[in-house]
């Protein structure tokens, strides 16, 4: 047997700066020490490891790529590498950070008033305020423009009525960024604090995917929101979609981490598992699977890195981000399934990570724009023709 190649097959690490790798290694250590030993228990019980939140804040993993207001001020590539490592642990923890940073802190940072930024961002960066993001409704998923939650103007307040569905962090959040339509038909963003009369949440039970993460319904019944809690610089559907672009970018990196966990588990297993008198890794059919997993992941790394560098230069667009999310999540979904396959019967137990990642990836494949929707976004970009309407 010849010595197997080390982990970084294409020497992609050479494309990163020292500080970027330092951030990756810090998060790697955090995942190995704090997440991996506990995650299976949370996954079984369907609970989110809430006690990690202050540490996520302390290390600086909440709102990584935002500058000022107590935010860490990292680059988009640094943000990506951190998401990659977190999702190597579990998609639920990465999702928490995506929602907190890209879906809740980002809209306040980008569309909020000075007072809103000062009031919420520093505490959110520390993990002292947990956020969630209410755009999707039970009947407005891929078509968020059809949302039905209403905001009626009354004096210097708005009255919210309606509900939001599939909201990550919903029941553990102190603050919800909620998108609703005014009587004039315009979509606006509202900052709804926990405990506001008329605002309730209900956790969605029975999930077979993303179990170590809280998913909820948000319900608004004559919920009064003062004018000062309206995001002043957000009008229409573009701002909420812009938040999604931020989160999707991080997800494209996260998928790489999930795929890494699955690939490494499968590779180790295949080299150790003896059948017919030799390691199953020596069989052509198994090598075929391993090689395809690795090749797809290495390509995915280059894709995310390129989009990240463009984003840092300010030259990325949402269709590029769609390509990265679409490609990498599909790759990770395939990787998890193939890894589970290589593990045979052992693959269906949580003694090995692939089954957990495989279940998680069903959510990641669906949220933040399904795979199909991203194809249509890219399709529109290259043909100039809109398939949505």
């Amino acid at each position: 047997m010849t010595e197997p190649r080390e982990k970084d097959f294409l020497n992609i690490e050479d494309l990163f700066r020292d500080e970027e790798l330092m951030i990756r290694d810090t998060v790697k250590k955090f995942v190995d020490k704090e997440i991996l030993p506990e995650i299976d228990a949370h996954h079984r019980k369907a609970t989110f490891p809430l006690k990690l939140v202050p540490l996520l804040g302390e290390i600086g993993l909440l709102g990584i790529n935002l500058k000022g207001y107590g935010c860490p001020g990292g680059s988009n590539v640094e943000y990506g590498l951190a998401m990659q490592e977190l999702e190597r642990g579990d998609s639920g923890v990465r999702s928490f950070c995506s929602v907190q940073g890209s879906l809740c802190m980002f809209p306040i940072w980008a569309f909020g008033s000075e007072d809103q930024k000062k009031k919420y961002l520093p505490k959110m960066a520390e993990g002292k305020i947990i956020g969630c993001y209410g755009l999707t409704e039970s009947e407005a998923g891929s078509d968020p423009g059809s949302l039905k939650t209403r905001a009626r103007k009354e004096g210097d307040s708005y009255i919210l009525n309606g509900s939001k569905m599939w909201i990550t962090n919903g029941s553990i959040a102190d603050l919800a960024v909620v998108w609703a339509r005014t009587e004039e038909g315009e979509i606006k963003g509202f900052l709804v604090e926990k405990g506001t009369p008329g605002f309730e949440t209900s956790e969605i039970k029975g999930k077979f995917s993303m179990r170590a993460s809280v998913t909820s319904e948000l319900i608004f019944n004559e919920c009064r929101i003062p004018e000062k809690n309206v995001l002043p610089r957000a009008q229409g559907l573009k701002p909420p979609l812009k938040c999604l672009t931020e989160a999707r970018y991080g997800i494209s990196w996260g998928a790489l981490g999930s795929a890494q966990a699955c690939y490494e588990t499968a590779l180790k297993y295949a080299r150790e598992r003896i059948q017919f008198g030799k390691p199953i890794a020596s069989f052509q059919l198994v090598q075929h699977k391993l090689v395809n997993m690795l090749t797809a992941r290495e390509k995915g790394k280059l894709l995310s890195l390129q989009v990240g560098r463009e984003k840092d230069k300010g030259t990325a667009n949402h269709a590029m981000v769609s390509m990265a999310k679409m490609n990498n999540v599909q790759m990770a979904r395939n990787c998890a399934r193939t890894a589970r396959e290589i593990l045979g019967a052992n693959g269906i137990c949580d003694d090995y990570v692939p089954i957990r990642h495989m279940m998680n990836m069903e959510t990641v494949y669906t949220y933040e724009g399904t795979h199909d929707i991203h194809e249509l976004i890219i399709g529109r970009a290259i043909t100039g023709l809109n398939a949505f309407s």
Binding site: E3, E19, D25, T26, E58, I59, G60, P72, G74
Partner: protein, 260 residues
């Protein structure tokens, strides 16, 4: 309090080490390098002492330009300054060479340090010599393999791990202390720390800057040969009914393995 922390760049403990028989050295290609884990305990202890009592923490490393990375990590953890003593000889496994360079740097460039903190040994070379040599060269008291450290004014108390017990030693400052696992739990570098480290310069000191010549460092040690440890033999499985298996196992342990 002025604290110097000495850190070494070593291959990641998870890496598989391969040896080049021609050059009697390890093959660096494909290896991931890290700060030696025991040095991280030293770094953490320095930061805790500074947080409790004030002062300045400076990280120092001997080696090539590549050592900048571990020094940046020290800055990211919270060190105030970092200095690289540039020695292009790379890994010589010559502890005295490193100790002489460090001792000279302490004398020439760092004014009145109160505490010199090391890891008890580097992983990889595992000689555990440099801290003691530096203490000797500087005429300072030393406490090695320390699992608990208390500093009060000009006095230090260290708890050392010794065979089957813990030894308490007292000493006056300045002193050399080397850290053992258990001394503390090193913190995570924070993103803010890493961002700050990005902006800090790491000055380099050459042999000339230290007023030294290559002759001052003539090797006291020659690496004659380097071999990978022999592969572990496969385990033995005793297959039988429990009473017979126990008998066979005892026979094996007495006669073949000669353990009992």
């Amino acid at each position: 309090m002025n604290i110097l922390v000495f850190v070494k760049r070593v291959p990641d403990t998870e890496s598989k080490i391969r040896i080049d028989q021609q050059s009697n050295s390890i093959i660096k290609e494909g290896l991931n390098f890290i700060i030696s884990p025991y040095d991280e305990y030293a770094m953490e202890e320095a930061l805790r002492l500074k947080e409790a009592q004030g002062g300045k923490v400076t990280a120092v490393s001997v080696g090539t330009k590549e050592n900048q990375v571990i020094l940046k990590k020290c800055l990211a953890m919270g060190a105030d300054e970092a200095t690289l003593i540039k020695d292009d000889a790379g890994e010589t496994y010559d502890s005295l060479r490193v100790a002489k360079l460090l001792a000279q740097a302490v004398k020439q460039k760092f004014t009145e340090p109160h505490l010199l903190l090391f890891g008890k040994q580097s992983v990889g070379a595992d000689n555990a010599q440099v801290p003691s040599m530096v203490a000797e060269l500087l005429g300072m008291p030393q406490a090695n393999v320390v699992t608990k450290l208390e500093i009060e004014g000009n006095k230090g108390t260290a708890y050392r791990e010794i065979e089957g017990a813990s030894e308490k030693v007292s000493f006056s400052l300045p002193a050399v202390v080397s850290a053992q696992k258990g001394l503390n739990e090193p913190r995570y570098e924070t993103l803010k720390g890493i961002m700050m480290a990005k902006r800090k310069q790491i000055p380099e000191l050459s042999l000339q800057d230290l007023g030294m010549k290559e002759e001052d460092l003539s090797p006291q040690l020659e690496v004659v040969r380097m071999d990978a440890p022999p592969p572990r033999k496969a385990g033995k499985v005793v297959e039988d009914e429990p009473p017979q298996a126990a008998k066979k196992l005892v026979e094996f342990l007495c006669q073949e393995a000669k353990i009992i």
